[in-house]
Each structure stands twice: as C-alpha cells, then as structure tokens.
Amino acid sequence: MNARLYRLPALSLRAIAVWRRNWLVWRKLAVASMLGNLADPLIMLFGLGYGLGAALGNVGGTSYFAFLASGMVASSTMYAATFESLFSAFSRMHIQKTWEAIVNAPMLLEDVLAGEWIWAATKSFSAGGCMLVVIGLLGYTSSLLALAVIPVLLLIGLAFAAMGLAMNALATGYDFFSYYMTLVLTPMLMLSGVFFPFENLPQAVQMISMALPLYHGVALVRPLLAGEIPHAALLHLAVLVAYALAAFYVAVVLTRRRLQK
C-alpha cells in the first residue's frame, strides 16, 4: 500500500487562510446563518421544555426545562458542526471545487481539512454559545462554572466536525448524508441523555451510550450549567479529544484517497 496515503497530517498555520476564507463568506450571510442555528433548537427547547416539562415536573433533580436546555446546548453544537462539515464542506469540495483550487497553491490537503475542521468547530461553538446566552438570559444558569462550558463546546464541535469531514470524504452526494444523520446522529441524540436521564436506559444500552461522544459532551455541559464540577471530567474530556483526533486522521486519509487518487 501507498505509505504516503497514511502518513500523519503535517499541520501548519496555513490552515488559518482556509478558516479566514470561510469566515469572509460567513460574514456576508451571518444574520441568516445565526437565525438558522438558533431557531431550530430554540423551538425544540421551548416546545418540549415548557410543554413536556409541565407534565413531567422535575427530572434528574432539576426542572425539565433546565435539564433539556443543558442537553440541547450540547446537541445543537453537534448538529451545527455536522451541518458545516457535511453539507457546506461538500459544496466547497465537490460542487465549487474550492479545495482543488486551494491545493494548487502551496497548501496541503491537511491544511484545507484543518482549516475546515477548526472553522466548523468555530461555527458550532457559536451555535452552542447562542443557546448558552439564551439560557443565561432566561435565568437557568448563574454559576461562573457555566463559562467552563465554552471550551467543552469547542471540543464537541471539533469531535463532530472531524466525524463529519470523514463522512464528507466518502459522500457520493447530499443524499449520502441523510444516512449518517438518521442512522448515527439521531440514535446518538436519544442515547446520550439529551431528552431524558441516560440512567433510564437499560443497562446494556447504557454501555453503548458511554461509547458515544455526545454522551460525554452532555455529561460535562449539564453539571457545569448547574454550577457543579462534573464527575469524571477528565475521562469525558479524554473521550472527546480522542474522537476529535482519531476522526480527523481518518478524514485526512479518506480525503487524500478521494482527491489525490
């Protein structure tokens, strides 16, 4: 096999130029993009939080709205990172040939991917961050520990952006992504304690949950928003870092295979 295909990514600061490219595009469409990022999770949060919350009372020792809000800070970050690294990155790679233009300059494919990776994480962070602000304004978090959620959101964004970029490298078209969304992300949303305490799941299923990155994200975000130090915080962080790095490496190899054939 070709050893160059599997060599470790040679990361460089050139990746920032790719990030800045995407930032310049985003600035032109910022308002629409922010609304899109916020509207969907907020509708879910208010609908389920108030509606279902009234019927459920307290969940996991807190109001259902507060419980759901912390889960949705993590899940909206996941979705924003995913959309950016799937649909938007695919447009740039496949439709607009932006990546091909970039690698004609003294840029490596890993510079492009790293730029896209950090960009998708940035954008997802802004989505999760918006949720955070709304929740804060509503008075559902007051602790300074809530600020520690910020790096956690970046990490969740990096993990899901890297996974999305790996999927992107395999995609044959936009339809391909609906499999990933439906078969991977939707079950993950259900198994990670976003809508209900993960302890309600059967023991065997809980084992699966613990292997999922979103579970570890929620396990960090929820206590922090409630003003508590998360239990086994280092383990949760380590899992997210491992997902981010491993998926990024896979994304680089798969994209090399696709574009450097």
Binding site: N2, R4, L5, R14, A17, V18, R20, R21, L24, V25, K28, Q96, K97, T98, E100, A101, I102, V103, N104, A105, P106, M107, L108, L259, Q260, K261
Partner: protein, 307 residues
C-alpha cells in the same frame, strides 16, 4: 541570465494507475525555462493526470519529477509556491467579488493582505478587468472568469504556469485575448505548460508540443518540425455529391487519402494534380490548405471518437 539553464520541469518514467487501469504509462518530459510547452491529446489521454502528478497533487506509482528544482511530490508545497495554476474547471469563489477572490487566494501563498492588495490593480489591468474589482463573480462572462482565473494564478508572481485547457468553452474573441495575454507572459520570461485539444492553440503558442494518447507520449518536438516529419505539406478537403466515386481517383493523385464521414482528406507534397482534377468536378466542394497540427494529431491518434 547567469544561472545555468536548468530545466524547469524534468519528468522521467512517470506511471499512475487508477482502479487497476494505467492512465499514465511511462511518461518522460523536459521543459526548458521560458518555453511554452503543449501537452496535446484526446480526452482521457492522461494530460490532466500528468499535470496533477507534476504539481504534487497526486502520488505517482513510479517515476521521478523535478519541478523548479524541487523533488515532487515530496517538496510539492515548495514547488507550488513558485507556480501558478489555471485549472480546467472554474473554481473561483462564487461568494466573493473579483478583488476578494484575489486576496483570499493570495493568502494561500502566505502573502499578507497589504501586499496582495497592492498587486491587485496590476493583475486586473493585465487580465482586462480594471474597474471590476468589486464585481460579483456571477456577473462576469465566461471569458472574464477565465481571465480572472489567470490573474489569480499570477497572484504570487510565479516563474511558471500550468494551464489545463485554458480556452475551452470560450468564444473566439475571448480566446484570442487569452492567447495574447499568454504571449505577454512568455515575453516576460515565464515558463508555460498547457494542455489543450485545440491544435490551433498549440500551433500559435507552443514552442514545443508532446502528443499524448492512452497514457503515452507518442511524439514530441516543435509543431513545425513535427508536421514536416509526419504529414504531407498540402491538404485538400473534398466533399459534396459524388465524392465517393471521386475518392477512388483522388487516391491516385494524392500521397495519402483519409475518409471522415462525408469528407475526403487528401494529403500531398504537390497539390497541383489534385486541384487540376477538381476543377473538372463542379459538384464537389473543396478546400486547399497547408497541413497543420490537427492533421498530425489525427494521423497519430486516429479519427475515432473519444469520450
């Protein structure tokens, strides 16, 4: 020039397979500085893949590449820093204006915004886009987009340019303007490598061409010398009612006769007997012209359609 005349590009024994099919099968090339080198061939001949390999954008299965003194693909990044590329398909950023496209692209070379912006008026003037700095890409014509792509390839003031079918899809006016700009770059001493299947383009621009088919280089040399070597100097194209029966007689008057659809191509060192005979055939329409690169190309690669 004090520096020794080192080749801009040296390729030897280059091979590349995709999915078990060898698309580049042992290519050797040398391009001297200041030369305009044309890589010609039908669709699927391996031209674009050869270019991609030379730029370090794909890993060869075998062979050596040295581009501007850098071993490729290992030092692809260093080599590309001194090269400009005009890709076959439009890859301008549709979300940006003309100037933004240049600034954003310049950053990929590690240039800072101020230096790029200082270069923009010159680049726009060169590409005939002065006054269009703030135009959106969607408002540009096909020719303007190509010229902007050329300007983008010059943002780093490269020593060498790779152009993959630079005028495909352009109207004659737009094509002539691109040719004129490319000649200007040659006068500045830049080295050009272009792929094309427009023989006219290669004949007008290239000091040397290589004809490629099925992943191999069949022949290379200056267009004039290659035509003289392989093709009779005069061509008479004949068509019209009764061309079938005339073709038999044509074979006795020409050194070589080829048939493509309803047209008969007669190749001859001396066209006089052919022309005299055709004067007596008022039904037939004919065209007498000198042999060109297209005749050479068709002789070497055949008249079959390629997809």
């Amino acid at each position: 020039m004090n520096a020794p005349a080192r080749n801009a590009l040296v390729v030897s024994g280059l091979r590349k397979s995709y999915a078990g099919r060898e698309v580049v099968c042992g290519v050797d090339l040398q391009v001297a500085p200041g030369e305009c080198f044309g890589l010609l061939g039908p669709n699927g001949a391996g031209k674009t893949t050869t270019m991609k390999l030379c730029l370090g954008l794909a890993d060869p299965d075998a062979g050596q590449i040295e581009l501007l003194g850098h071993a490729v693909p290992e030092e692809g990044r260093e080599a590309r820093a001194e090269v400009g590329v005009v890709p076959q398909f439009d890859s301008l950023d549709p979300d940006f204006t003309v100037a933004e496209n240049l600034v954003v692209y310049g950053r990929y070379f590690g240039l800072n915004d101020r230096d790029i912006r200082a270069r923009i008026p010159e680049l726009l003037e060169f590409s005939g886009l002065t006054g269009r700095a703030d135009a959106r890409i969607q408002t540009l014509s096909g020719g303007m987009k190509r010229r902007l792509t050329l300007a983008r390839a010059l943002v780093n003031d490269p020593r060498m340019l790779f152009l993959d079918e630079p005028t495909t899809g352009l109207d004659p006016q737009a094509r002539h303007l691109i040719w004129e700009r490319l000649r200007h770059l040659l006068q500045e001493g830049k080295t050009l490598i272009l792929t094309t299947h427009f023989m006219e383009e290669a004949e007008r621009l290239c000091t040397r061409v290589a004809i490629m088919d099925n992943g191999r280089i069949i022949t290379q040399g200056s267009p004039r010398a290659l035509i003289a070597q392989h093709v009779e100097p005069h061509v008479v194209e004949v068509h019209g009612p009764g061309v079938d029966s005339w073709a038999e007689r044509g074979k006795t008057l020409a050194a070589r006769v080829e048939r493509a659809g309803e047209t008969v191509f007669c190749y001859a060192a001396d066209p006089a007997p052919l022309l005299a005979d055709l004067k007596g055939e008022p039904e037939l329409i004919y065209l007498h012209r000198p042999a060109n690169l297209e005749d050479l190309f068709l002789k070497l690669t055949g008249r079959d359609l390629r997809d």
